[in-house]
Each structure stands twice: as structure tokens, then as C-alpha cells.
Symmetry: C2
Subunit: 459 residues, 2 copies
């Protein structure tokens, strides 16, 4: 491989190839295992990405794309591979304010893109905890979700066009700028959510939305699980398309983020088994606020919510979101394992209770489970602890969390992807013919298996 | 092929194989050329579809899927092929009113599915002129669009899961019921909008939306093209997510549908170069109506609209929609050719003027052009006549309509697909590497080329 790396040094712009300690210094993340790459490559253009892949393809050398390095499933682990970091391809190339389109390079950090859109009166609706590190390319490769999926969909729904480099270095520029385009196959889908195993995303055209003029936020307490889906439906109908977040916290999560050393304070006086952060975004601040309060009042009168605090200021809204975002408090139960699953709302209560009971039976006195998530789209995060880092315990825990999903058609990965961590559970959410078809695509687009090998399914 | 057809007669349920006159009687449509199929197959189950494809695959026999047979690009032309009609697989298998999901067989007519959802308080938002004939399977295979794309997206956005049968008869059941599911590749994309060339869709899980409680409709007159995008942005922002249609009609379209023998009457007194049918759907009838009128009043005050008629009753609303839907009036200019293109709003005025001028220059005194479309998502329909059915004239017209799209990144097919009719223009909207990648997929999934051969690109 020394020859290949020397060739790359000659082919890429200055600073394009890091090796040794310089490479290992890049392979650090508190979120994910990045392994020990042979080198870290930092192309500055699509042409350089193409050069890298052409050479790697000829050499049969694995390449692992790197974005913000804050994924949660070890999808960027690069042991023995060339890490291909998009960090120097981070420009916002164009922001078309007439059409509401942003053309951006893959290495651009999500928050940077969001702020650029906002500054010009537009909204890039993707919103997630890692917004300050995750890149647009990573968001595309993992089909990122987050807090507003129930209104604006996942990253898939924001990508109108993209450019990707195939395993052999072929550049496929599919930079469509149209909302409606049925001229031939939709090739974007090959690269959205496929975790860099079918190509390296280099650029994208993102669809922006009108920046809302109003933002109404409430923190509500709910007495019974069955009230949650009823509340959700009421908000969907009553707010007429303006509901933008429905974030549910089980009582244990709420307790954790409102108890010292956490600095959050409970927005409501009473104690409830469930709390929901509700948000609505619209176009007329005064009218929207009145409607928001009216719909919540209806829910209060009909008993779907027991109490509600409505944010009266930006500071109050930020304090509510800070509770939801203070996931780091779950570290107080360390060692912990974070899960990201998806299931029908109707199955959630029994599922969570079942996981909790099974954990308590397996690790009496040691088990902890903190639950929260984007209930509006079926996505729950479970933060589980059992006082152990043993792999036998980890496997037992995964079995407890994932196995019940099989019977109810749940997913072992709602938004984080499969990477390495969930590979052995893929078959619990997808059938044999589905996985065979994924392998057909992989073999067809990456016949030498050099693109992020071993991720999603075994090479 | 006689052997194959005899084998199929034995393998399928009674009535499963039509030949001779019975077959040809099925191959009639006023919308599309269906050709002369060897036989029309009418399976009753996914297993029967699998049997058909297994046998056809072994024999290298082309198979052409049929839905409602009202496509507009000759995508179901079945000369010398086995036509595979899904008409007997038309059941609504399940309607989950708690989760808002419908499980439906491919042959179900769109309108039937919509009405079933509505009866239970839900909305299947796909809405298009052929709703009474088009099937769910056809809507999926062509990624149907229609009148509400700006709010709820295209068919692609409504399909959570689907089942398809591959060329060799393998059944891939990917009946996901979850909004968020990143467990492996999204395989649905292989079958949505690929016009039956990669597999035969047999079933689907569709995402429903809360049925809106309010529906506000207006017909407005606009003096200048530049006012249209400003009006659209105002409505998007002011209605806070409730805007569900923004259908623009050029004056020539309006004249045609409001002049005898058309029975429509103009909703506005004055004459304007552009008219827009605007619709909003929300959750609170009285409040929504007030908001709708307020936002339109703002547009009137700021001069974006010159006049507006707001529907005061269901009958008035239906009369407005009847104007928009009375596309058949364009037949008065027969012979006509219908085009379906997509381009940026900023390019539309110059584009339409350019097409009109080029047609007038080529066919002086004979040329007619009627324009309307879903401007909210960039989709225009152009109905062109030049007093000729000669293929030289048709080619000259296609050149006039499609060629300018190349420079502005437009699409030769917004929502109708490519089929046979637009095949030679695919390369005007998609690049060489894109088409090569489409062919890679085709070769990988259908190596013998039996699935709807020659559609989208030449076999």
C-alpha cells in the first residue's frame, strides 16, 4: 500500500494525505470507533475523490468515507482502510433564494448550512443533536432524521439532487434542481441511507422551505400512554399542517434532566409518567399562538393532557429544548448503551414495559432504562444500563431490545443506520430476499467491495 | 410461445389467461397505445405473478405490466409481450386507522383507495385527473404526481413499503409500516418511478394523513408573471403549511375552458394573463377561512393578485376545479400533443414565450399552445397543436418544446414518465453517466431484459 499512498501524495493537493500520527490524530471521536486507517485522505474536489477511488479500485484497496465522525453505529470505522474525509469540501456553492435551493458540498457542517439558509429567509428543516458536527454528506449517507421528521421528512426528502463518485471513480452528477422529475430512474436513492457502501457523495442540491414566522412551543404532562397518540392526532388535525415536533419523554428521562447535577428545571409542577415537547411553526405569529393555545386547551379539556406550560419567550423555549437535548445526563447511569428503534405507536407502551421488565429480571438492582424519542414518527431512543461492559451482557441486552421488534414489524434502526454495530440484527428487520437484493446492488455497483466494506452487511 | 401460454393456463386461476380477441379487447385505451400482446395475464395473487415471471424468465419472454392503462407515454405498449394486468389484485387488505396506514394491492384504483381512506377519517393525498382509472401499482411505477405535490409530495412520498416480484420470479416483500426505518438500503426506490422495468409491484403500504377539516379554495387573476412566484411564497409562508394546491392557468387555457362548447363560466369578471386556483386545507374551518381570506387580501393589497373569487360553497369549489380539470377542451385544437415538463419558476415565462414564438414561426396561422400546470412544484403541461399529424412536424415540435430545457436544467418528464414516447429525449434531461448507471441497475435486476423491455431506454 506504500506505493498507493505515495501515488496519492502526488495526485492530491497539498495536505491531501495524512499518515502515521497525523492520521491517527484524525481518527479520534468520543462517539464512534474510527479504527486505524492506513491514511486519511482529504480531497478538495470531486475530481480528487474520483482519482482516489480510481486508484483504490485498481488496487482493491478499501476506502471508508468520513463526514463529521459523530455517527453512532461505527459506520466510519476504517481499520486498514483509506479514510476519505470530505472535510475540505465544505463550501456552500449556491443559495438560490428565488427557488429555495441550496447547492452544497458534502463536507459542509449541517449547522453551517442551516444558518446560511436562515440568514436569507429560508429553512433547511433537518434538526438533530449533532448539528454542529454532522456533515451534509453524512446526513445523506445515513438518511438523517431528528426532531422534525413528522413535518418535513428525513434527509431523503430534502435531497433533490446529488453527485456521487462510484467505486471505480466514475462521477455521477445527478444535481437535479426540480421537485418533480420523472425522467428516468431516481438514482439519488442509491446513495441516500446506504452508508457510503455504494458511492461517495460529494455534492447535493437541497430543497429549502419558507422560514416560518412563528414558533410556538409547549411542554405538557400526560397521565396515560393512550393519551399520547390521541394528542398527536389532535395536534396534527387541529394545527392544520403546522405541527413540527412531538418529542416524548418518559418520566425517567424527565427526572434525569431535571435533577442535579443536571441544570434543567421542570417546566411543570406536577409529576407525570409522560411529557411531550410540542412545537408548531407557521406564518402568522399572533394567530398561530392563539391557535396553538386553543388546540392545547381542547386537549386539556378532553383530558389528553394533564398540564401544559407554554413558552412565553425565546429563553423559555430554549430551556424546554435544552431538557430534551440534555441526553448527556443519561451518562450518569454509565456504562450505558444507546438504542435507536422504530415501531408503531400502538406497540410502544407494551414494548417499553417489556424491555424494562426483562432488564430488571436479568440484572436485578443494576438495570436502568431511560426512554425518549420522536414519537410523531415512531422513533424511540432507549438508553440502557446494566452495570456491565461485558460482551455477554451487551449481547443479552441487544437481544432484549431487538428481539421483540421482530413480531411487531419494528426496526432495529430508525435513524442511526446499521454500520457495524447493528449488522448482525439487520435480518431481524429485513427479510432474506430484501438482504439478497441489497447484496445484488452492492455487487453491481462495487464489484471489488472497496467502499466501506463490511458495513450494513458482512463483506 | 404457445407452450408457455398453455403452461400458464394450467398454472393460473380460471380466467387468468386471455388470448386472441379476448386479449385484444383488453388492449384498448383512448390514452395510450397498448399494442398487440400475445396474451393478457390476470393473476389473482403475488404467487401467481411470481409463477408468471419465473416461466417468462426461463423462456426469455417479455412481460409488460398493466395498471389502469391511462398512462400518457406508451409505457404499457405490449407488442409481442405478455401483458400482465393487475386488475384482479385490487383489494384493500387493511386500513389501520390508529396508525394511518393502508395496505393495498397494486390493482386497486386510486379513487377507490382515496374514498376508503376518507370514509374512515383519513386522507390519501394523491390527486390527479385519472383518479378513476389509474391504479396504485401504476401510480407507484410512474411515481405519480398531480395537484397536491407541493404539500404532500409525489407517490414516492406516500409509499412506506411495497412488495415486488423480480424478473426471475423472486418475491421481495418490503412491506415496511414505519415512517423512520434506516435498517439497510431503501429498496422501494428501485420500483417507484421505474415504470415496471425492474420488477412488478404487487402490494404496497401507503402512509395516510389526517383528513383535513377545512378546505378553502380561490380562483385569482394575476396581471404579471413575476407576481406568481411572489404570490406562491406569500401563500406558503402565510398559510403556515396548509397550502395544498397552486394551479396556474395561462389565459389561453382559461379562455378555452370558459368558452362554449365548454360549459365552464369564468369565476372572475376581468380578463387576466394568468389565473391561479389556490387551495388550503387545515383543521379549523372558521379560523382557516379567515386566515385564507386574510392572506389573499394581503396579496390583493400588495398587487400580487388583481382579483379573487373565493368559493362560498362546495358547488363553487367544484366549479373552480372543474375548470382546471376540463383539459379535454384542449381537444378543440386537435390534432394536439400533450407535454409534461418541469423547470424552475424563474425560467417559465421566457420558456413558454419562446416555445410559443418558435411554434408560430414554424406553423404560421396553425400553431396553438395552451399552458397550465402545477406551478407550485415546477410542473407545466403544454398542449400544442400545429394542424398536422406528420411525424416530421411532431419531431419539430418535440425539438421546440424539449431543446430549451437542456440549458436551464429542466426535465422532459415531470410526472408522466418516459415510456416509449420520450425515450429519445431522456439524454436531454439526464447525463451519460446517469443513464449508464440506470442501465447497470437494469442489467443487474433484469439480466434477460424481459421486464417492460425498451421502456425508459432502448433495450
Amino acid at each position: 500500500m506504500t506505493d498507493l499512498i505515495e501515488t496519492l501524495k502526488g495526485a492530491l493537493s497539498p495536505g491531501g494525505v495524512l499518515t502515521g500520527e497525523d492520521a491517527q490524530a484524525q481518527a479520534q471521536s468520543r462517539w464512534t470507533r474510527l479504527g486505524t486507517p492506513l491514511a486519511v485522505l482529504r480531497p478538495v474536489s470531486t475530481a480528487e475523490v474520483s482519482t482516489i477511488l480510481k486508484l483504490a479500485h485498481a488496487a482493491g484497496q478499501p476506502v471508508v468515507p468520513w463526514g463529521g465522525k459523530t455517527g453512532l453505529v461505527d459506520g466510519a470505522q476504517a481499520d486498514g482502510a483509506l479514510a476519505l474525509s470530505l472535510e475540505r469540501m465544505n463550501a456552500i456553492e449556491d443559495l438560490d433564494t428565488a427557488a429555495g435551493l441550496m447547492t452544497v458540498q458534502a463536507g459542509c457542517v449541517l449547522q453551517t448550512a442551516c444558518e446560511a439558509a436562515e440568514a436569507l429567509g429560508w429553512l433547511l428543516p433537518l434538526d438533530l443533536g449533532s448539528r454542529g458536527s454532522a456533515t451534509i454528506g453524512g446526513n445523506i449517507s445515513t438518511n438523517a432524521g431528528g426532531n422534525r421528521v413528522l413535518r418535513w421528512g428525513m434527509m431523503r426528502d430534502m435531497v433533490l439532487g446529488l453527485e456521487a463518485v462510484l467505486a471505480d471513480g466514475t462521477v455521477v452528477s445527478s444535481m437535479n434542481r426540480l421537485v418533480k422529475n420523472n425522467a428516468g430512474y431516481d438514482l439519488k436513492a442509491l446513495f441516500v441511507g446506504t452508508e457510503g457502501t455504494l458511492g461517495v457523495v460529494t455534492r447535493a442540491v437541497l430543497r429549502l422551505r419558507a422560514r416560518p414566522a412563528s414558533q410556538d412551543t409547549a411542554f405538557v404532562g400526560v397521565e396515560a400512554f393512550d393519551d399520547l397518540p390521541r394528542l398527536l392526532r389532535r395536534l396534527e388535525r387541529g394545527l392544520g399542517g403546522a405541527l413540527s415536533a412531538f418529542e416524548v419523554m418518559w418520566a425517567d428521562f424527565h427526572a434525569l434532566v431535571t435533577t442535579p447535577p443536571a441544570r434543567g428545571r421542570p417546566p411543570l409542577e406536577g409529576r407525570y409518567p409522560y411529557y411531550v415537547l410540542v412545537e408548531s411553526m407557521g406564518g402568522e405569529p399572533a394567530e398561530d399562538q392563539a391557535r396553538f393555545e386553543r388546540v392545547l386547551m381542547g386537549a386539556l379539556e378532553d383530558g389528553e393532557i394533564a398540564d401544559a406550560a407554554i413558552a412565553k419567550s425565546k429563553a423559555e423555549r430554549e430551556a424546554m429544548w435544552a431538557l430534551r437535548d440534555d441526553v448527556a445526563q443519561t451518562g450518569r447511569n454509565a456504562p450505558i448503551i444507546a438504542f435507536d428503534v422504530s415501531l408503531g405507536i400502538g406497540d410502544m407502551e407494551a414494548y417499553v414495559d417489556g424491555v424494562r421488565a426483562a432488564m430488571a429480571a436479568r440484572w436485578p438492582g443494576e438495570a436502568s432504562l431511560v426512554v425518549f424519542g420522536h414519537m410523531g414518527d415512531g422513533n424511540l431512543h432507549l438508553i440502557a444500563g446494566m452495570g456491565s461492559r461485558e460482551s455477554a451482557d451487551l449481547h443479552a441486552l441487544e437481544d432484549i431490545v431487538y428481539r421483540p421488534l421482530r413480531a411487531i414489524g419494528g426496526s432495529v434502526s430508525a435513524e442511526h443506520g446499521i454500520g457495524l454495530q447493528k449488522r448482525e440484527y439487520l435480518a431481524w428487520s429485513r427479510s432474506g430476499p430484501e438482504i439478497a437484493l441489497m447484496r445484488t446492488l452492492k455487487a453491481s455497483l462495487d464489484p471489488r467491495g472497496i467502499l466501506n466494506p463490511g458495513k450494513v452487511f458482512a463483506a
